[in-house]
């Protein structure tokens, strides 16, 4: 199923491992370079900026090939319009195949062709079926799964997760009112089943090729599970889909369940993450706790925003301070010492950028409103949602 040479895939894993060992200070630079020279690997881009650049250029390339075909095909008018997206999808597939044969992997150029193929299949089915959503979602799910299995392409896996969820939703809509009413529970059950399924698949893996994709799907299930029965999501979606207005003094059906769910699940995630040392789950639990607080603030203004921010800052500071104090001296297990192997502090480099954008001093052009000064800090709104 995998288009790439197994040997190169294995080499890739070894080189990655050598890289992490070098960063952890276990092996020397010469050794790492020797390993790199010994083993042949894919053409890939680790720098995300460069990869985005290549993705854009690849999209231009793909677009101009399709445009060139269209100039010839335009003569057939209507008939061409009906089949053009199938042709484009075929072009995309041929392009991805060609790039894969040239050993391009996670490079940006191949991303453009693989994602373009999936997108064009969606368009093509949409044109053929006159925009029948669940069929589009179904075929996009199949296409993206195939792309993931063949090219080990992680973004395709993400597309697959979204489109299979969309397929489920559209199918439930077909059942009418009842389908919409039980949607939260269906989504929750679906997420739970998929979570345990992917977990089992990960544990049964022998080769690690599909590991990252399955982990992504697993993480996606965690997010879906939390969101499916979050009070805010359920209430707003039911207002959107069923048109039910919540009168003052009343609440949505099963409100207690949803309230409980909103608060229990993040805590469960947090405890489970610390117990199993699962970093993705830990991050999701942080985000979920943040979103739960937002949910409450959305409906009940417990405290004025400025007091909430100040107190929140103080509480967070206290939590961080005491956790650091407690973990500082520990040598194994849960600790404050930076891990030599798994670095997760890349995002800390973005700190300076965030400071500049929230607290940067702006020039005082308008003399009549000197409060412009440091105005970024006063709005402060951007700093909650982002994390």
């Amino acid at each position: 199923m995998i288009v790439y040479d197994k040997k190169i895939l294995d080499n890739e894993i070894l080189v990655d491992e050598a890289d992490t060992l070098y960063k952890g200070g276990f092996i020397s630079k010469e050794q790492k370079q020797f390993i790199k020279k010994e083993l042949s690997v894919f053409r890939s881009q680790n720098n995300i900026l460069v990869r985005i650049g290549f993705f854009l250029l690849g999209s231009f390339l793909y677009g101009s090939i399709c445009g060139a075909i269209s100039i010839i095909g335009m003569n057939a008018e209507n008939a061409y319009f009906k089949i053009c997206c199938y042709i484009f999808a075929a072009v995309g597939f041929a392009g991805s195949e060609l790039l894969a044969k040239q050993n391009y992997h996670n490079h940006g150029l191949d991303d453009a062709f693989i994602l373009g193929t999936i997108l064009n299949i969606g368009f093509a089915i949409g044109i053929t079926t006159d925009g029948y959503e669940s069929v589009i979602a179904f075929f996009m799910a199949i296409a993206s799964l195939y792309m993931f299995l063949r090219y080990l392409h992680l973004l395709s896996m993400l597309v697959f997760c979204f489109s299979i969820t969309a397929f489920l939703f559209f199918q439930m809509f077909e059942f009418g009112e009842i389908g919409k009413a039980i949607l939260p529970f269906t989504a929750m059950t679906f997420a739970a089943i998929c979570y345990f399924l992917t977990k089992k698949l990960i544990n049964n893996l022998i080769k690690s090729y599909y590991y990252k994709g399955l982990l992504l799907a697993n993480t996606f299930c965690l997010v879906l599970f939390y969101l499916s029965c979050n009070y805010l999501v359920v209430r707003e979606l039911s207002a959107e889909l069923l048109g039910t207005e919540v009168q003052p003094g009343t609440d949505i059906p099963f409100a207690f369940f949803f309230y409980g769910f909103t608060f229990v699940v993040p805590i469960v995630y947090l405890v489970q993450a610390l117990r199993t040392k699962d970093r993705f789950m830990l991050w999701i639990s942080f985000l979920a706790i943040g979103f739960s607080i937002y949910t409450i603030r959305f409906y009940y203004a417990v405290l004025p925003i400025e007091v909430a921010l100040t107190l929140g800052g103080l509480v967070l500071f206290a939590i961080a301070y005491f956790s650091i104090k407690k973990l500082k001296e520990k040598e194994s297990g849960l600790t404050f010492k930076p891990d030599r192997i798994n670095h997760s502090d890349n995002f800390l480099n973005a700190e300076a950028l965030v400071v500049a954008s929230t607290f940067g001093i702006k020039p005082e052009v308008k003399v009549d409103s000197p409060m412009e000064f440091g105005g970024g800090g006063f709005s402060g709104g951007g700093s909650e949602g982002n994390f």
Binding site: L316, L327, F336, E351, G374
Partner: protein, 333 residues
């Protein structure tokens, strides 16, 4: 993941790519089962500083007339003094090389103290106008305080505040969300463009000087990043100007800065500088090309352009790949 990592290490060992000692060391380290919360807890500290200072900022803004001014100012001053007291007490004093605090909390205390100082001076100026009508001075004072903190406590986050303050002094908004939109109005105001370029050059000169006397050389990259973006955006937005002389002049500036940053990114081994230099250079080159061609009448051969377009993009891709490959090879050595 763990079992796969261990497999990979095992295979590296089997292929004789790592020695037995190294293999043993790695195995023992893995057996510790370290799960580090270092980055997460630091992020919490950082978030708490952001939340707290935003909260204080809004609190002052909303209640500017209800609580006594003296009360607000004295509370703020008290908090600032406490923060700075702890920072000074635990700092190792000024050093030319990179320094860190022993306790990570202090780094964030410096940040908090600095932001609060900015708020304090802003509030003071709003209410009592100690600087009179010299609003520039009100921007310059927090900038100077920030620069002092930057060099004394060695704090990168504060450095960005200081640089935005410096730019604000000449009337330029360089916060990431503003630099691309119209608030600067570089297109309309030529003087602002000249001062932007001057500021960029100044930042570059300061970096060169710092490198020569080896003063906090790890700040160089931040200075250069700001300089690159300020100079390039100022000159690109002036390339569209109607004045022939003006756009020629800025084209020269862009060419010169592109050349300098090409050299500088190799020296600093900085991918971020290199990529943005290429992007700005590419955009600039296209605009210049367009400006040169705009006077020529192509109406008869436009179809040629449609077919040339894919060729042009393929050419760009090939050029891009070549440049990046060279750079990779160079910095890997």
């Amino acid at each position: 993941m763990k079992q796969f990592d261990e497999q990979a290490t095992q295979r590296l060992f089997e292929k004789n790519l790592i020695t037995e000692n190294q293999f043993q060391e790695i195995e023992t380290y893995r057996a510790l089962g370290i799960f580090s919360l270092n980055a997460e807890l630091k992020l919490f500290l950082y978030l708490s500083v952001l939340l707290f200072t935003s909260g204080i900022g809004i609190l002052i803004y909303e209640n500017i007339d209800t609580i006594g001014h003296i009360a607000i100012l004295s509370i703020l001053l008290l908090v600032i003094v406490i923060c700075f007291y702890y920072c000074f007490k635990n700092s190792k004093g000024f050093q030319k090389s990179e320094t860190t605090f022993e306790h990570p909390v202090l780094e964030y205390l410096v940040l908090a103290a600095n932001i609060l100082t900015c708020i304090f001076i802003g509030y003071l100026q709003f209410q009592y106008k100690p600087f009179g009508e010299h609003y520039g001075l009100a921007t310059l004072v927090p900038t100077i305080v920030s620069f002092f903190c930057v060099y004394y406590f060695d704090n990168k986050s504060v450095l960005t505040i200081a640089i935005t303050g410096l730019a604000a002094y000449i009337g330029l908004s360089v916060t990431p969300q503003d630099i691309f939109n119209d608030s600067n109005n570089l297109y309309a105001s030529q003087n602002l463009s000249y001062s932007a370029v001057m500021l960029g050059v100044l930042l570059i000169l300061w970096t060169i000087y710092s490198n020569r006397v080896s003063l906090k050389t790890h700040f160089g990259l931040i200075f250069l990043t700001f300089a690159l973006h300020i100079i390039s955006i100022a000159s690109i937005s002036n390339l569209a100007s109607y004045d022939m002389l003006n756009w020629m002049l800025f084209a020269c500036v862009l060419v010169a800065s592109t050349f300098y940053f090409y050299k500088a990114s190799y020296e600093n081994k900085a991918m971020s500088l290199y990529v943005f230099m290429i992007i700005y250079g590419y955009i600039g080159a296209n605009i210049i090309l367009f400006r040169i061609f705009e006077n020529i009448d192509f109406s008869d051969i436009w179809e040629l352009f449609v077919f040339l377009l894919p060729v042009y993009f393929i050419g760009s891709i090939v050029m891009f790949i070549k440049l990046i490959k060279n750079f990779h090879k160079e910095i890997a050595e």
